[in-house]
């Protein structure tokens, strides 16, 4: 975090987030007045300041922001990887901030699907085993169901022929598709996608995001995608923008002029 960024209470340029949250009373994900403050010596760094957002089930939203804007911190808090300094995060009735470290581990395994920047597949497991591995971390889906589910997901993602290949033998796009399958494997409530196109060229990146959007829609899942790539927002329903730790809801993605 830069020391020179402004931890003030600026006027929101977009819609009032509180009002925005109000219009999503049944939202599956509620982020209410969440802040993350890092202290280094005497300086307080407000990575995220009073962020409020609500996302409905079945929605796929984008979180736009340049590097250092706080988007990584926000999505990490939503995914149970970081605890907020203040505020509350509720996913399908669970108060994420109230969970212990151990409970957070189980929460991430069962309730959240992650798609990382660089796929981050287990290099010594095949595509199919990468999917099956995450199923061993939860108790909701039986072993037998998990096998059937992995095969079905690989089929849907066009990876049936690559099921027995290890990541090294897959292309970048294929790897990211396996990562999508892995995120869907445990039937999570929320899918968090971190810059999925960072390691891909534009064409492949589009394909991957398109596929992601389709899978999330078809399954009625909820997704948040962090990106700094404006071209990817066309696949999402709504766009939030974060700048210097301040979150705003943007009506028209095309209005963004970064």
């Amino acid at each position: 975090m830069n020391d020179d960024f402004v931890p003030a209470h600026p006027q929101d340029p977009g819609l009032d987030p509180a009002q925005d949250a109000g219009s999503h009373a049944d939202a599956i994900l509620k982020v209410e007045d969440v802040s993350k403050i890092y202290r280094s010596g005497d300086t307080e760094v407000h990575a995220v300041s009073s962020a409020t957002m609500a996302v409905d089930q079945g929605e796929f939203v984008a979180l736009l922001g340049p590097s250092g804007s706080g988007k990584t911190t926000l999505i990490s808090m939503i995914g149970g990887l970081l605890s907020p300094t203040t505020g509350s995060i509720t996913l399908a009735g669970t108060d994420v901030a109230a969970l212990s470290k151990r409970e957070l581990t189980a929460f991430r395994a069962e309730r959240v699907g992650f798609v990382f920047q660089a796929a981050n597949l287990v290099p010594f497991l095949t595509a199919r085993e990468n999917l099956l591995y995450v199923s061993t971390l939860q108790k909701r889906i039986s072993r037998k169901e998990a096998h059937a589910r992995a095969d079905q997901l690989l089929e849907e993602l066009g990876l049936a022929a690559r099921a027995k290949n290890v990541p090294e033998q897959l292309s970048g796009g294929e790897r990211q598709r396996v990562a999508i399958g892995r995120a869907l494997m445990n039937d999570p409530d929320l899918i968090l996608v971190d810059e999925p196109t960072a390691a891909l060229d534009t064409k492949l990146g589009r394909q991957v995001v398109e596929l992601l959007a389709r899978e999330i829609k078809q399954r009625g899942k909820t997704g948040i995608m962090v990106t700094h790539d404006l071209r990817m927002v066309e696949y999402t329903d709504r766009v939030f923008e974060i700048l210097d730790g301040h979150l705003t809801h943007v009506e028209q993605p095309s209005a963004l002029a970064h």
Binding site: I75, F116, Q117, N120, F124, T136, L137, E195, A199
Partner: protein, 368 residues
């Protein structure tokens, strides 16, 4: 489990290095242990493989059979002590003996056939009978060298006919010849003229204690004599304890090196997999599970190392010349296998803190 096993299966090259290192260490340790056991057993057979449970020595002998010298009165005194079931004199002579097949360095033991200190490891023929002079049982080593039952072994002008073979009975790495006290004394007086005219001395007293009586308890009865258990008598043989402790300290050092090698290997592996471990933690893998995987891998690598090292060591044992006293014992193999596995687990345990410190939050917002 799934991660740990598949990583070894699909990453054989990487694990081959740690397995090779562990195999070499186990090979070294087992070979040294075989040498240590060979030296120990070769030096102490004559006091381990008999019916005696303790030995009594003259006060100035410091527990050495050869240095000790005792009179018949002292032998009788010991036998009348409470807690002593049987006590009889033992004579020892390190010399050269001639048989039809050649000349050998031997240790001649004079014992009382119906007394204490008599070998219990007869493999062929018979032992000299009570009252019988001029006969002997020989150590298996001499039989391997070509001395046979019916041959005679000659020291100076004194001969004894070989009537039996015993095993595991060598003394200070020399094969033994077991004969009567009179025959032993006759041989000794030929080789050591200063004893001419001495007709009733012995070196030490072999004791069979009453059951439940220890050498220490006998010691408290015999006054100024030194009483040692049979085991302690073996260790008191000059050089035996020093040899054992030298070789054992090399063995323990090598095992410590094994732990260090495993520790370094897994430290590197964990360092290299920081990103992956962070992602796996983000996906909901517990630190405990990741740690258990590393420990499991260490156990597997150590176990494979033990198998390869043991086979290589036995292979070397098969081609090593007979003059090198090696002995491969199952007990030693089991002990060293357990120690190696423990060393592996201890080594891997050093990585657990590192794994615990990996922050799952670093999986998001990578540097790309």
């Amino acid at each position: 489990m799934m991660l740990a096993l598949n990583e070894i299966r699909r990453g054989r090259g990487r694990f081959a290095s740690i397995i090779a290192a562990l195999s070499l260490i186990v090979f070294l340790v087992l070979t040294l242990a075989a040498l240590a056991d060979g030296l120990f057993f070769g030096a102490t057979g004559a006091v381990r493989s008999t019916n005696a449970t303790a030995y009594a020595f003259s006060p100035d002998a410091k527990g050495s059979l050869i240095r000790s010298s005792m009179t018949p009165e002292q032998v009788r005194e010991v036998s009348s002590d409470p807690g002593v079931a049987t006590a009889s004199g033992v004579g020892v002579l390190l010399t050269a003996g001639t048989a039809p097949s050649g000349e050998y360095d031997v240790a001649v033991f004079g014992v009382q056939p119906d007394g204490a200190g008599v070998p219990t490891t007869l493999t062929d023929g018979r032992l000299p009978q009570p009252g019988e002079n001029g006969t002997a049982a020989i150590d298996q080593e001499l039989a391997y060298e070509g001395v046979a039952i019916g041959d005679s072994i000659t020291v100076g002008t004194q001969s004894a006919e070989v009537v039996g073979v015993v095993r595991d009975s060598s003394y200070q790495l020399q094969p033994t010849v077991w004969t009567s006290l009179d025959t032993w004394r006759a041989m000794r007086n030929e080789v050591r003229p200063e004893f001419t005219g001495v007709t009733d001395d012995v070196n030490a007293v072999a004791i069979i204690t009453d059951s439940g009586v220890t050498a220490e308890q006998v010691q408290s009865e015999v006054g100024d004599l030194t009483v040692l258990s049979a085991e302690a008598t073996g260790l008191a043989i000059p050089g035996v304890e020093q040899q054992s402790s030298t070789l054992n300290s090399i063995i323990y050092t090598a095992l410590a090196v094994a732990a260090l090698v495993v520790a370094l290997f897994f430290a590197l592996v964990v360092l290299e997999k920081r990103e992956l471990f962070a992602a796996l933690k983000a996906l909901g893998t517990s630190t405990r599970k990741l740690g258990a995987g590393v420990v499991l891998q260490a156990i597997i690598a150590s176990a494979i190392g033990v198998v390869i090292g043991a086979l290589a060591s036995r292979g070397l044992g098969a081609i090593v010349p007979d003059e090198v006293p090696t002995l491969f014992r199952t007990e030693t193999l089991i002990t060293i296998s357990i120690f190696t596995l423990v060393a592996g687990v201890v080594g891997a345990a050093f990585s657990l803190r590192r794994i615990a410190r990996i922050d799952p939050a670093t999986a998001i917002g990578g540097t790309l």
